[in-house]
């Protein structure tokens, strides 16, 4: 293979109107043997616009990481497809190899993600050399990126992962993800293991890098404060499905789906004079093996009615802006007594 000086940057093909990523009915089931199946991701549709940060929230096991792994094509989907800047991922004009360069991921565990036997400079340079960049050019680029993430190469380039703090290791992982010149970066609980004071530094860094490199983020986190701070839009998942998606302020200020409402009111109040008096949901998150029929939230939903156990609600536009929710209460004529009347809706 001819050695390139640096990896070419990828131009915007579809234009600003085309989402960077469109996921269409993505589905991933894990057979467990004995006929049981974990429906980890079950027909998920969403788009990520160019330059935005899409936050993803939901209880443990709802399918956030599995969605991320499918989007990264670390595991193949069972059903559904993805368009990246308008082109089919894995199709003729966008091969998997080329796609994998343009989409990168940062995980929670900063230690496990790094090869303990490589210096951090070599770790960052590794990806580009695999993609045909010469070693000296890759090292040069690695040092530039280490500087960008706030690690002075003179002090840090030759260190090994165990010689760094958690926050520093996470900076290395971010530099490594950027080394291939991606357009999409998926951050799966990427700041969750960091201390609050260090987390704030890394969030500032992520904002700077997004600006400088024109990046698009998918930001998965269980910390609803952090998601509110960093996201433009937020997607709420429940048992392998999207239940609500929309602009961050609209969704936080006026959640439409009863699950989104419950999730948000489970956040600690931060006000000693108004402490939480009642837990919004009882019990643990249910298990995605044999999820309930109809609306998957119906066994825990305070508004569940007969229709909810029978008919699966689909994501539909609701409210003023660009919000969608999957709840019978939002759809005229659904058969739920709280749904808008048909004539009003017309």
């Amino acid at each position: 293979m001819a050695q390139e000086a640096q990896l070419p940057t990828t131009p915007d093909r579809g234009g600003a109107g085309t989402p960077l990523l469109q996921a269409k009915t993505l589905t991933k089931h894990f057979p467990l043997g004995g006929g049981a199946v974990v429906r980890a991701v079950d027909g998920v549709d969403f788009a990520v616009l160019k330059g935005e940060t899409l936050g993803v929230v939901g209880e443990s096991g709802c399918g956030k990481s599995t969605t991320a792994r499918v989007v990264m094509q670390l595991i193949p989907q069972d059903k559904g497809e993805m368009l990246f800047d308008g082109e089919i991922v894995g199709g003729r004009s966008l091969t998997l190899k080329e796609y994998r360069r343009q989409a990168q991921m940062v995980f929670q565990d900063s230690y496990a993600s790094l090869n303990p036997r490589l210096t951090i400079e070599d770790s960052v340079a590794f990806g580009p050399t695999v993609h045909g960049v010469s070693k000296p050019a890759a090292i040069l680029k690695a040092r530039e990126l280490l500087t960008k993430v706030g690690l002075d190469p003179a002090r840090f380039a030759a260190r090994y992962p165990h010689e760094l703090s958690g926050g520093q290791r996470q900076r290395v992982n971010i530099a490594r993800a950027l080394a291939l010149g991606p357009r999409l970066v998926i951050l799966d609980e990427a700041v969750s293991a960091l201390d609050k004071s260090v987390e704030a530094q890394v969030l500032n860094l992520l904002a700077d890098l997004r600006e400088e490199f024109g990046l698009t983020y998918i930001f998965i986190s269980h910390d609803l404060n952090v998601v509110r701070f960093i996201s433009d839009r937020v997607m709420v998942m429940y048992l392998g499905e999207v239940v609500e998606i929309g602009p961050v302020d609209e969704l936080y200020d006026d959640p439409r789906h009863p699950y989104t409402r419950a999730l948000l009111s489970a956040m600690p109040s931060m006000d000693p004079d108004n402490r939480t008096m009642e837990a919004p949901l009882a019990g643990d998150p249910p298990n995605p093996i044999n999820p309930p029929d109809g609306c998957r939230f119906h066994p825990r939903c305070p508004h569940a009615q007969t229709v909810c156990a029978k008919v699966k609600p689909v994501l539909a536009r609701t409210g003023e802006g660009a919000r969608e929710a999957a709840c019978h209460m939002e759809v005229a004529g659904s058969g739920h007594s709280r749904a808008p009347k048909l004539e009003e809706a017309a």
Partner: protein, 326 residues
């Protein structure tokens, strides 16, 4: 005046080994019976070591403990093995982030709770089992009679956490030590466990030391807060005082980093750098390398311990001027 339930006076904990670690560097705190003190700090700040000192759970051969530790009138550091066995569980009990530290995988939940009861009280196995059932009801485990016969791995995460709480309460302790018991849980389950702990603590009149790195969690359960940094308590006060009028620069930084009410697109006022290594005992302000108010004096000597009011203590030179101005 009655003595407080817990009194720690200038406690130091040092681990000997290939590298010496000065994990706790002069902690003083008191807890009244029936009160909840939240201990807030980042990882490595000495929260768990402080709790373990109260139960004497640290490896004795490698650990030097200084200062005074009193719980319910006992000199904890002077207890002999028999006294220690009587003390653990019956006076002071502990719950953890990971229930595996408390629950034995090879015994049923019922067997373990009953065993803890029999260890401290002369009751029959049958009476103990009946009490175990009551405890599972108390912590609101669904189908408690069935769960009595379940092994820990047969329960969901939230349920295991409840079972561990039931086990900790088996011998009706006066002091409950909680070491990040909700950190690994989903927000929806976390709030359930916090409300449960708050209610049990109140109903049983227990004192509780609740360790967490999450301010929101601390606010939900605590009457008073202590903020720890590098093995020292840098600020204490009521929850209201700390939230509305934080004095120590580190407390202020932590509050900002919590992002509660932070505006999108705004830059966060992040504390630069990282906590110090603890290889020597502090001889200056441990926060000085990260503090934007640091002065010569901060780097030359230990900061003053300024008492702004009853139970309102700040370890920082800035508090001196706050005191002078008041």
């Amino acid at each position: 005046m009655t003595a407080p339930l817990v009194r720690m006076e200038n406690v130091t904990v040092r681990f000997r080994g290939a590298q010496v670690v000065h994990a706790v560097n002069g902690v003083s705190l008191t807890l009244e019976a029936g009160q909840v003190l939240g201990i807030l700090g980042e990882s490595g700040s000495g929260k768990s070591v402080t709790l373990k000192t109260l139960l004497r759970l640290l490896p004795e051969s490698r650990t030097d403990i200084g200062g005074a530790v009193e719980v319910d009138g006992r000199d904890v550091l002077a207890l002999n093995p028999q006294e220690l066995a009587d003390y653990r569980g019956a006076v002071t009990s502990m719950i953890f982030q990971d229930p595996a530290l408390a629950l034995d995988p090879v015994y049923t939940v019922g067997e373990q709770i009953a065993e803890a009861i029999v260890r401290h009280e002369k009751v029959s196995q049958k009476v103990a089992m009946a009490r175990a059932l009551e405890l599972l009801e108390l912590v609101r485990i669904p189908s408690p009679a069935r769960r009595l016969k379940a092994y820990p791995h047969e329960m969901s995460g939230g349920m295991r956490q409840r079972a561990m709480i039931a086990l900790a309460l088996a011998a009706r302790p006066k002091l409950l030590l909680a070491d990040e018991p909700t950190t690994a849980l989903d927000a929806t389950v976390q709030i359930q466990i916090l409300l449960l702990l708050r209610q049990l603590q109140r109903d049983m009149g227990m004192g509780m030391l609740f360790v967490t790195h999450d301010i929101g969690v601390a606010v939900e359960v605590s009457d008073r807060l202590a903020v720890m940094y590098a093995g020292q308590i840098v600020e204490t006060g009521t929850v209201r005082e700390l939230l509305r009028d934080p004095q120590h620069p580190y407390t202020r930084g932590l509050l900002a980093a919590n992002l509660h009410g932070a505006k999108k697109g705004e830059r966060l006022e992040a504390i630069p750098g990282a906590p110090p290594a603890l290889n020597s005992a502090p001889d200056s302000c441990s926060f000085a390398p990260r503090c934007k108010h640091a002065q010569e004096r901060c780097r030359a000597t230990l900061p003053p311990v300024v008492e702004l009011g009853e139970g309102r203590v700040v370890r920082c030179i800035l508090a001196e001027s706050a005191l002078a101005a008041a």
